[in-house]
């Protein structure tokens, strides 16, 4: 039985074996381990570097912000998933997502669907 149980927890010892889902912006970051003075291990997500900004107008489309819009509404509209608002924030780039739609009339660059960020292994 001991052998069987080890399979269920076999991956717990491997750092980063339980990654964020593929829809997450933290999917490709590494998981680091910090050891505190008393020996306990604390895991943390590494620093995430922004992908290079899109250059031309072929890679993004322009969206003019109307009153009452929010980043998650834009994400639902262009990607079909409100959780993908961070792709728009990455392409512009802003730190505070509210900055994107703060004032009506601002032009926001929305990346086209089909980008392949990063290159992490699937297995």
């Amino acid at each position: 039985m001991a052998e069987l149980e080890s399979y269920e927890s076999a991956l717990d010892a491997v750092p980063g074996a339980h990654p964020y889902p593929r829809t997450s912006r933290y999917h490709d970051v590494g998981i680091g381990i910090h050891r505190t003075a008393d020996g306990t291990e604390v895991r943390y997500a590494g620093r995430r570097l922004l992908p290079p900004l899109p250059d031309g107008p072929e890679e993004t489309r322009a969206h003019t912000v109307a009153a009452g819009e929010r980043p998650d509404l834009l994400a639902q509209r262009y990607f079909g998933d409100p959780g993908q608002w961070w792709r728009i924030a990455d392409a512009n780039p802003v730190l505070d997502p509210d900055e994107l739609t703060g004032e009506a009339g601002r032009t926001v660059r929305v990346p086209l669907a089909g980008g392949f960020p990063g290159g992490g292994r699937r297995v």
């Binding site: 593929r22 994400a75 079909g80 998933d81 959780g83 669907a113 089909g114 980008g115 290159g119």
Partner: protein
């Protein structure tokens, strides 16, 4: 508020073609695409079939088809974006094309059929010796010949080490590279397949055990009212599928033959079900007496592992409703099928059916026993 036209929906497919390096196809070709069907199976070659609308004065029939845009050995890459997350579904070569000319306007079609990049390895026969190389290094040497197509080797050491002895035997390959690599995989209980991705134009050649560890994909829910993600799911439990192979080995020193002990298959296939099925059949492997001991043991392990899956499931799902693409050759959880059939499964094969406005997947699952091992399934 939203008077600007929205994109074509949450699923976007892109088609890339080219002789060796691929580039996006012209917009007319994308618009003419009627349907795409892609099949990916563990341990087998993947295939695709694309159907295009062939109007008489369209770009395809006027220029692209005569100029060789769809000729055999043209490379085809299909990528799909669901909810902003992209995946490469297929990377392969055109093998054959069919033109169905019809008297009714708008009913002429061009159908392009092809296979994945392992076709390259199956084209020419080769006779080559591999002195003093264990099986996994032989595979590595073969796969490295195809790096020009972006194929990255993902090769694992065999479970039962077979140290080569140049004085006793030099292993020779006769036949194509694919035949030899598949034969080596089968002798060790491994599978060999090409997995496209993660970026278009890249793929990894996996020669190793099936991926039965790691993170489960998003669960398939059945019979859960509004939370159901699967249209239908059928399970079958075949008690005679599992067999217990027996191998006899002769010691060349004293000519004594002995029955090899039954190996534990869990290093190759971690158990997914709680109640493993007992083997009803007993088969004797032929030809193991003359082999080296490690080779005979590996073959015994391979045969025991391959026949272990007795529970199989099949079903279909709508990607729009599920929200994720079900990837083949990985683990997935099933919820709502009852205590006997809930739990984790290995996704044996997936067939993608893409057409404008719909994305359906047919899949088959397998595992070796009833009842889930864990008490929860990743949602």
């Amino acid at each position: 508020m939203f008077d600007v036209p929205v994109g074509q929906g949450p699923v976007h497919a892109a088609l890339l073609m080219g002789p060796r390096l691929v580039r996006p196809v012209p917009a007319e070709v994308t618009e003419a695409l009627l349907s795409a069907q892609i099949t990916a199976t563990a341990g087998e070659r993947s295939g695709f079939q694309l159907a295009f609308d062939l109007t008489r004065n369209g770009l395809i029939s006027r220029r692209l088809l005569p100029e060789g845009f769809f000729d055999p050995k043209t490379r085809v890459v299909v990528t799909v974006t669901v909810r902003g997350t992209s995946d490469v579904l297929f990377d392969g070569l055109v093998v054959r094309q069919e033109v169905g000319a019809s008297n009714q306007p708008g009913h002429s079609t061009l159908t392009v059929t092809g296979e994945d990049l392992t076709l390259l390895m199956d084209l020419e026969e080769r006779t080559a010796g591999y002195p003093n190389l264990p099986p996994w290094e032989r595979v590595l040497a073969i796969v490295r010949r195809y790096s020009g197509y972006g194929i990255r080797p993902d090769v694992y050491r065999e479970k039962i080490a077979q140290p080569p002895h140049q004085d006793l035997r030099v292993h020779y390959q006769t036949g194509t590279d694919l035949q030899y690599v598949t034969e080596l995989a089968r002798a060790n209980g491994y599978t060999f397949y090409l997995e496209p991705g993660p970026a278009p134009g890249h793929s990894s050649a996996r020669w190793g055990p099936e991926v039965r560890l790691g993170v489960r994909q998003h669960a398939l829910n059945v019979n859960m009212d509004a939370h159901s993600t699967v249209d239908q799911l059928t399970f079958a439990y075949d008690g005679t599928a599992r067999e217990e192979p027996q191998a006899r080995w002769q010691d060349p020193a004293n000519r004594q033959s002995s029955l090899l002990p039954q190996p534990s298959i869990s290093p190759l296939r971690p158990p997914l079900g709680k109640r493993p099925t007992p083997a009803l059949k007993r088969r004797t492997l032929s030809g193991t007496a003359k082999q080296q001991r490690a080779q005979a043991e590996a073959e015994l392990l391979a045969r025991a592992a391959v026949s272990a899956d007795v529970v199989s499931g099949s079903g279909s799902l709508d990607v729009n409703r599920h929200g994720y693409i079900l990837q083949p050759r990985r683990l997935v959880g099933v919820r709502g099928a009852g205590r006997a059939y809930d739990g984790d499964y290995y996704v044996k094969s997936v067939t993608h059916h893409l057409r404008p406005g719909s994305y359906q997947q047919n899949f088959t699952l397998s595992r070796e026993g009833l009842e889930a091992r864990g008490d929860h399934v990743r949602p």
